[in-house]
Amino acid sequence: MIGNFPYIAVAILIGLGIYTLIFKKNLIKIAIGITLIENGANLFLITLGYRKESVAPIYTQAPEGMNMVLPTPQALTLTSIVIGVATTALILSIAMIIYNKYGTLNTDEVRRLKE
């Protein structure tokens, strides 16, 4: 049971993220929503990498006689965190430009492109 808690957290994070994307009207909040979904996906990957009674594959000062996990999910998570930083930086800079040009961050007003 307790092993499933991280998956519940993943579902909550992604659900909150999608809720934010659909219902929140502020561009910065939308950026936060994307980050929430991203963290949910990262948590999901990390949880997949967990094995009971195993340690991380770091040779320096590891305890003797323990199994080491295959670090692929950790590598995937790191990669996606790096990409996430780039995404967040880009999205926030574009939000800054929009605020500079439009004078607002409300999605109802940031829609000169329509039809």
Binding site: L45, I91, I94, A95, Y102, R112, L113
Partner: protein, 522 residues
Amino acid sequence: MSNILTHSPALVMALPLLAAFLTPVVGRFNRKVLGWFVSIVLGLTLFITLLMATQILTNGPMIYVFGGSEAGLTLPSGYSVPIRIIFHIDGMGIFMGLITAVVSFLAAIYSLSFMQKHSGLEKYYALLLLLATGMFGMEFTGDIFNFFVFLEIASIASVALIAFRSNLSGEPAEAGFKYMVVSSISALMVLFAVGLFYGQYDVLNMATIASVMQFTQLDKIALILLLTVLAMKAGSVPMHMWTPDAYSEAPAAITMVLVAASQASLYALFRISFSLYNISLNTITVGWIIIILGILSMFIGVTMAIIQKDIKRLMAYHAISQTGYMLLGVGVGLAVLANPVALESFGIKAMEGGIFHIMNHAMYKGLLFLTAGALFYRTGTRDLNKMGGLANNMFYTTVFFIIGAAAIAGIPPFNGFASKLIIYESVYQFNPLLSIIAMLVSILTLASFVKVFHSAFLGPQLEQYKKVQEVPKSMVFAMAALACIIVLFGLFPDVIVKNLVHPAVMSLINQTNYTATILGGI
């Protein structure tokens, strides 16, 4: 030469990457050579891609392992697992790779004069090269996580390029923001699906996943996530709203590359439904979902295009509607995949039409966006209401526009007609109604391009455009190259279908070939 050939999959991806990192250095020394440097690198990439294409079409799929000589890792217990990142290029991959190479090369050439007046060009070119890298990676990779990485590279680069001209007005930034949000959602859903695969099968290699696929409930969820978000990235209705925004606000050369980038997502959609799942999924249901998305895209795309006033928004809606043809053709192929008789009699043909249409669409829609860019370059507006009589001043642009418009409307003897004819005839055997809708859409396409032609090119010379001249040579060259390809493909469609399209379709259909190439090599 053989050395280049051995390393060609890596070189095609790595050369633009190296050049992208070198552009700030080159731009610091000399701004003028920058464009030529990028064009030469992309030309070299095109050359290597052509070499690779001849190799693959004669000798079969190519595997390239990164960072080691073998793809797999054999544990002391004897269990072997493909752990390294590999590039797995078969007929379909190289087909898309050729499109990407041609389009990005011509975009660089076109940008030589189109972007001349802008500042920050080294960033522009670096992003263009990164976009090319991302697209090549998406098309060549054999590893599903690596696909996610390249998808993100391509979308980040394209967002930055869409928002590139936001120093004057806010609209490019708005379009960039919208595209960023939807592409982030799609990339994160892909990542979640990757997690679902890894959690079940402990592998990331697509061919290995395909060979152990059980089609459990979790696989179904992964399929739904991938299907939806990749269809969205390809711009299918009703998830198409980002397309006109992004396509209209990006610089014209970039719009052409963006069309190819959205087709890379379409490729991924086909790759996942054919190579990863194949007949283990309920092909009739999934096939019909793709067909319905295609029909909706075709019809709503073209009807929305008719009422547009902005020339690039109009063309962007046509891009949506043409994507519908590809979805329709390939969707019919997927729907009859489990039925060998129907597959043999019309399924393969329908897929050939759909896949051939991908290449045709990249060429003629690229040409049309370039002509729109040429009009913008000389008149400074994209509003069709303000244009008129430009055929008097811009002879070459007019000719190229006529070629592109005739090709997209499916007028013989251009290439659009050949692929549309295949789709009509083979889809008619599957369901006549679909074929009739497709023909109706083609007529509406012609109607809306008649509107563009009339309002932009025909009519008397307007007072404010008396001094407008033909566009510079590099832009004419890029448009001429695409026009030549369109005419040649239109005159000799059988050569292309037999040598390029048919191997691509067969590599999609034969899942066992796809898995065997990898599993034999571990």
